[in-house]
Symmetry: C2
Subunit: 240 residues, 2 copies
DNA sequence: AACTTTGTCAAACGCTTGTTTTACTTTGAT
DNA sequence: ATCAAAGTAAAACAAGCGTTTGACAAAGTT
């Protein structure tokens, strides 16, 4: 047993420290170079560990990669958990008004952008997620089933309430996806938009400004789509 | 000199054929595995060539990669050249009405989606471009200076005309970027949206439907933003 | 204090990487 | 027919890859 006291958090054992440092270094390198490009030697060096530590703690490079993906899902829920909880509560109540759903949708997007997409300290997560979309590995299932799909379904539900549409129709799913694209595009084309703007990053007040515009676009779009006629084909097309 | 006549196109020499096949195979493999993950042996095999052919025709793997990026820029102009020309003509005339600009913007986005983003035969281009955004190599400059920036500036100009805003303000640039995100997100999150929709691809009538929704979102957004007040900070913030 | 568990480290293992070399065949002009 | 140029192909090269090994140190238990 451990004999030391700690009022902050249980003092991590030597092994836990090594494990954590390896995970952090791996996230950074995997997101920059991909699961193929990042080498175990580079990861170990960045984590201040020996190469053999990876096999020792995670079994193999591939299992380390999967552990990183698990960590990403955890980080998403950690940063967005409160908004998730609100959305789930609203959904469970069953009789949410369009105005309530729209307000929550705005909170959702604003925070998704401000807490995740604009932050350079979590930018690595976005890069790795995009990489998995480009060339899915077996680990994609982790990100999709526990990260993307629950988030997407929640947004579709809220959009459905606002627009008075069934959230399971392909029209609702695609419109929601289009809305999301505005926010996520900043992760995907980060380098290009920064050059266009002549900015070095998108943090601080700059992030707030972008969130302002994003929020306004969302509001305008939802308002304009409320009266729009349903799509002739897609409004009757439902997923299983 | 070549002694054969050809009414179609100059019969490519043996070397030109090898060069072309290498470029095609390289695009496919680079976009799937990245400039690091794709090996010269795999590229040569896919092109039906010997490994040494890459060094022989392109000098090195890196120069082959740059040749692929050049090809991408050419393909973009080849597929979008007519719409580009229209936009340039409108810009040169100098006194375009908001309605004209909006119509052209609609054409631009619709065709960008239908001709590029939805086509599986050019999907490799999209994947490679996203890869360069995630981790820019020296070759990024080719894509940015001759591909992304001219396109982005053109769209900003049109959005500026529609909304009555200076195309060089950061507000216009960011709003244009948000608009673009809706279309480009389908390249970036292809795997996830296909799973959500239960579809295998986004081609044929399905692409038309998505283009319908995209076009409608664009229209709603531009209409709603016309009366909106300028952003307090960003509307006065101009790029060099 | 003796002993087991846990963690660290350098070296070595096969294997694959991009590139170069060398010998060879095909091509097109004289 | 001859010959230089253009193109092909297999083998060899050093360097780097993920993983395994075995010796060793530190920590925890009895």
């Amino acid at each position: 047993m451990k004999g030391t006291f700690s009022f902050l958090e249980p003092a991590p054992s030597r092994g836990d420290q090594a494990r954590t440092r390896l995970l952090a270094a791996a996230l950074e390198l995997f997101s920059d170079l991909g699961p193929h490009g990042a080498t175990v030697r580079a990861i170990a060096r960045a984590a201040g560990q020996n190469v053999a530590a990876i096999a020792y703690y995670f079994g193999s490079k591939e299992k380390l990669y999967e552990a990183v993906l698990e960590g990403i899902v955890g980080e998403l829920h950690g940063r967005m958990g409160d908004v998730y909880a609100e959305a789930h509560a609203l959904r469970a109540r069953g009789h949410a008004t369009p105005a309530e759903a729209e307000a929550l949708l705005d909170t959702f997007f604003r925070n998704l952008y401000l807490r995740m997409l604009s932050r350079s300290e979590v930018a690595a997560i976005g890069r790795l997620v995009v990489r998995e979309q480009l060339k899915p590995t077996p680990g994609f299932e982790i990100l999709y089933a526990r990260g993307f799909r629950p988030l997407h379904e929640m947004l579709c539900h809220l959009v459905g309430v606002v627009l008075g549409m069934d959230p399971k129709t392909r029209e609702t799913i695609l419109r929601t996806h289009l809305l999301m694209g505005q926010a996520y595009f900043f992760t995907m084309s980060r380098e290009a938009i920064l050059r266009r703007l002549g900015w070095k990053n998108l943090e601080g007040e700059k992030a707030e400004w972008v969130a302002d515009l994003l929020s306004e676009h969302l509001k305008v779009l939802l308002a304009g789509l409320k009266g729009a006629p349903p799509h002739p084909q897609l409004s009757h097309s439902k997923i299983a």
